[in-house]
Amino acid sequence: MNRPNAWIGSAVARVEDERFLRGRGCFVGDIAAEGLRHAAILRSPLAHGRIERIDTAAALALPGVVAVITASDIGAVPRIPMRQHAVPEGEIYRQPVIAHDKVRYVGEPVAVVIAEDPAVAEDALALIELDITELPVVADRHIAARDDVLMFEEAGTNRVRVLCARMGDADAAFAAADYCRRESFSVQRHTAMPMEPRGLLAEWDAAANRLTLHGATKVIFYNRRTLAEMLGVAETAVDLIEVDVGGGFGARGELYPEDFLIPFAARHVGGRVRWIEDRREHLMAMNHAREMYADIEIACRRDGTVLGLRGHVDVDLGAYVRTNGFTAPRNVVQFMSGPYHVPNIELDAVVYVTNKTPTGTYRGPGRFEASFFGERLFDMAAQDLGIDPAEFRRRNLLREEQLPYPLPALLDTDDGGKTECDNGAYAIVLDRCLREFGWSEKIKLQGRLIDGRYHGVGLGCFIEGGAGGPRENARMIVEPDGRIAVYVGSSAIGQGLETILGQIAADALGLPMDRVRVAHGSTTLVSDGFGSFHSRSTVMGGSAVLLAAEALLAAIRDAAAARFGCAVNDVRFADGLASHGSEQVAFGAFAGLSVERTYHNKKHTYSYGSHAAHVAVDAGTGHVEILDYVTVEDVGRIINPATLHGQVLGAVVQGLGSVFLEHLQYDENGQLLTGSLADYLLPTATDFPRIRGLSLGLRPCPNNPLGAKGAGEGGLIAVGGVIGNAIAGALRSFGVQPRDLPLSPPRLWHLIDQARRAAANDTRNGHNG
């Protein structure tokens, strides 16, 4: 290869950008199609009730309405499968694609209107008479745990399952420990909130009995198999096509009820049906995430060595187990020890159903929550033991020679939850973060009142799992002009995948970037694929591209050798030409030559790193300003530093949104109170301007040919603990310990106010005594 690693490691400008900047992207709502009809979905206005009657006559009579679909039109109503971590006890809690006997959350689909015009479809929703008998609402996990009101009578309990992470002997460790502390923490319900709401365009070709579905993403091959089965057609009669996607963050692209309803509607009316979700729908229909309540305990030696973690985390799953409802509960217990050596672990995640929107994964699922719980508890322990927070972490981080290191086992799971931290220099990266941040100077500000605000610094370390298996496919074809078409089974959800895989392919083929054309996101392109989740696209898709490139070059070499009449080993490659002596031929001469390769991998990658933050807290208002935020992470090998840096900054800001702003709130009747972006607050440009991210390629991953590790979630994972710790540091004179997110100004003000009152009482009592 004459151009080793010219592209990998370079901040190559993204090939996607030009079309987006000129307004020429093609998102699902942008697709022009003849004879388009429009769907609108009637959603349950009540959190829990029995459907008595649905009268669609008036809606059907509205001019322009083509059809109204309810459960009775569908017959046997299919249910959403458990894509990840399926277990038998989850079966009964699966979601029907349309409510037929009961409704269990506000926003659950009840009927679908198809009309010639989207506005008419929405008008028709108001004409459907929906008669629902209200049932008592299971508004939170406490009500759920009582089992007085059952959401699924046939299940007999609202407690779906318990996921247990185990390592060593926690009871023995706690019995022998010098020091223990037990604490409660919580993370509020919030979610991914990509800027583009969901949308689908389903085309039913009645003559060929074929479905084409635009707007799919993430796991299109899995969704194709599932959808074909639900519709009762052959898998080959279904194609899922990914167009440009306005953000995923874990939530988009799972198989939702609409992914069945819209194709069904297209078949029902025989043609093309489009559905574009509005933001209000999105807030009540797309997966929520993160609502967890921890009651956990830490055991340490006097010198700060952590001996054990135990306790439980209650998970409010919402109304149903959807495709990946168990992923976050599983992660929160398995990853609470993070990058630290915690030899004894007994943690249970207790999963309850409630009458709220079902939950699923959001960037760093369970990991953000676990990091908040664990890092807060670490800081409390360090403070009690009189150990500097940085020293406490250094003492407990996994040492390089302890790696690979198995994470706690998960009992009663499909795979035993076997995974291990691969490699890394955890302490070196922590120290680098401390240096970049200026920890030794800034720690002197801890708790000090400067110009009316209390300053604090906080710290946290994380691991980020990536490269979810089991395999990924890539296909390469030589085109007549000598360009190489690269087809992958991965999905693009805004992360610059075309560019990244293009860099890998161009390097492997010894070609300039513009001689490689990456296409993805269609079930028509490769024979199988696994998609984009669990920070897997670069590692899995990229490794598949490497294997395919190797095979394609071998095939070209064979063909060229035959043409030149020389030995295979005598063929030379340079810049898209094969040569032997003075003879040469362009790759284009072998147009049509094609290979497909599959990369298999079951070992996860673990990128890792540390975050540090400097905050100033206004005790009078509860407002927190981020004065500095530094992340340092090691991702093994950096493919594109610019896109990676973008992932890091974006993830940190999302994490800060989780900490301060974002909250899906319900009342006691299960009504969503935050149904617009005026109520559900996202970070804006004035909120968090000072963030610094540094990414390193310090320890290449030993488990894949690229040496890369999944990245893109790590910027978010540690934010909760880091900010909680910095605020605790700032407010240490008050004894305030943030335990519950979000740390919105009123909540923080209340904590400060409570602490002041308690101190005043103590003082008064002291005087009286």
Binding site: A119, M195, E196, D244, I276, R279, I493, P683, T684, P689
Partner: protein, 162 residues
């Protein structure tokens, strides 16, 4: 109710069309004029993705009725670059990786274009203040601010040349 006639200028070209009274400007641009670069992300005026420039002002096309735009001059994201290339602002976005998924990008470009046309020397605080009316979920805004800061020079030059 019959459709109402609307005459307006879009990206320098005269357009005569008609639309129902309740149709928004955003839907008119997207559905009737095939200018799908203007995106809808909230349809209640919070996110700014649908921002277009109406008679020189950045306006949320989801909150304006199409009939209200009668007689107006409108610039959408499709009208920012030249036939053969990116504008200085667009090029700066590309250089600074100021976009990821690209969905909010058109509204941010139009908003910042309108800002720099009237305030070519806007400082970082001013840029952030105006940008705070647009939501971006991918970038954390930092690269966007860097791109806008860099693009200021070309707006200042254009102003000086006038």
């Amino acid at each position: 109710m019959p459709d109402l006639p609307i005459n307006l200028t879009v990206n320098g070209l005269p357009v005569s069309t008609e639309a129902p009274a309740r149709m928004t400007l955003a839907d008119l641009l997207r559905e009737r004029l095939s200018l799908t670069g203007t995106h809808l992300a909230c349809e209640h005026g919070v996110c700014g993705a649908c921002t277009v420039i109406v008679d020189g002002l950045a306006v949320r096309a989801c909150l304006m009725l199409a009939v209200q735009a009668d007689g107006s001059e409108i610039v959408t994201v499709e009208g920012l670059g030249s036939q053969d290339g990116l504008s200085a602002l667009q090029a700066a976005f590309r250089k600074h990786h100021a976009l990821q998924c690209g969905f909010c990008t058109p509204g941010i470009l139009t908003t910042m274009h309108a800002l720099l046309l009237s305030e070519p020397s806007a400082d970082e605080a001013r840029i952030r203040e105006v940008l705070s009316g647009n939501l971006c979920r991918c970038t954390g805004y930092i690269p966007i601010v860097e791109a806008v800061l860099e693009a200021r020079a070309s707006y200042a030059r254009a102003e000086a040349a006038e």
